[in-house]
């Protein structure tokens, strides 16, 4: 039996059914532990004061915003190569989760930047690339929503996802280049976990684990929903002619 067996819709529904509540529980536990630990039990940073606590939301959501797109890219490739419907539906299911993650990363970043950099928004390369990523998500979701035939939609969004990935990487470098010399960029060393002292590091890891688990749980749940929607429309399409004739 190969690994692709797990991508059969019926099998997928079978093995994910018991998994989803566990994943949600585990994600919730990690998030509660990590966020409570981070919020109540870590000291303030000597430079940033209490705003350092935002890191427990900002870094994990930013991480997942990028990883969600990466997951969609892989799912799209699998769909184009192997034509597994579950794969295409998983990519569709992941996109709104990615949007929310991007929004959280942007919002927490803006809120942190206001007291620290003195501005809600700077056209810093990192911020700008996240905004562009957000636009890519919007286009991807809009294309899914616009096409009625599910297989056509899966094909076209997959192509868009692949081309979009190339351009997203390109934009990242272009943006880096564009902002050189304009503004040095406030030190984002807090973004790199290895720069963070241990007191902050461990609850941050717990939070990241919580976000990852939550992402997996949400994608599985939403993929299951999409599979049911697909089955439902197939059933309706099959029954309608008989209803008309009788």
């Amino acid at each position: 039996m190969s690994i692709w067996e797990y991508a059969n819709p019926k099998k997928f529904m079978g093995w994910t059914a018991p998994l989803v509540p566990w994943l949600f529980g585990l994600a919730g536990a990690c998030l509660i532990v990590g966020l409570v630990w981070g919020f109540f039990l870590t000291p303030d940073d000597y430079k940033q004061g209490s705003t350092v606590k935002i890191i427990y939301l900002h870094v994990p959501s930013a991480l997942m915003a990028i990883n969600a797109w990466f997951m969609m890219l892989i799912a799209s490739l699998i769909w184009l190569v192997r034509r597994h419907h579950v794969s295409a539906l998983a990519a569709k299911a992941a996109a709104p989760v990615g949007v929310v993650m991007t929004l959280i990363a942007l919002f927490t970043g803006a809120v942190w930047g206001q007291p620290m950099w003195g501005t809600w928004w700077a056209w810093d390369p990192r911020l700008t690339s996240f905004l562009i990523l957000f636009l890519f998500y919007l286009g991807y979701i809009a294309l899914w929503a616009a096409i009625e035939d599910p297989d056509t939609a899966a094909d076209l969004t997959s192509v868009l996802c692949i081309v979009g990935s190339v351009f997203a990487v390109l934009s990242r470098y272009a943006v880096n280049f564009w902002n050189q010399g304009l503004h040095q960029g406030a030190s984002l060393s807090m973004d790199k976990a290895d720069h963070v002292a241990n007191v902050f590091y461990i609850p941050l890891l717990v939070c990241i684990a919580g976000f990852v688990l939550l992402f997996i749980a949400l994608v599985l749940l939403r993929t299951r929903t999409e599979i049911r929607v697909r089955r439902m429309s197939a059933l309706i399409a099959r029954t309608r002619p008989t209803e008309v004739t009788t």
Binding site: G49, V100, Q114, L218, R222, T225, T239
Partner: protein, 50 residues
């Protein structure tokens, strides 16, 4: 109970507030839609078989 957040209480609390609202909202919407679709599918399958 709430730790002393100093002068940055507003930004920190709003960041946590908005992020948690967004996450909970996403989870609730996903679960609500999953329930609705599941019920609808069972209804259709029940009608076909019965």
């Amino acid at each position: 109970m709430i730790p002393d957040l100093g002068k940055y209480a507003g930004p920190v609390l709003s960041a946590y507030g908005v992020a948690i609202v967004l996450l909970v909202g996403l989870v609730v919407v996903s679960i609500w839609r999953a329930r609705k679709v599941k019920a609808a599918l069972e209804w259709i399958e029940g009608k076909r078989n019965g």
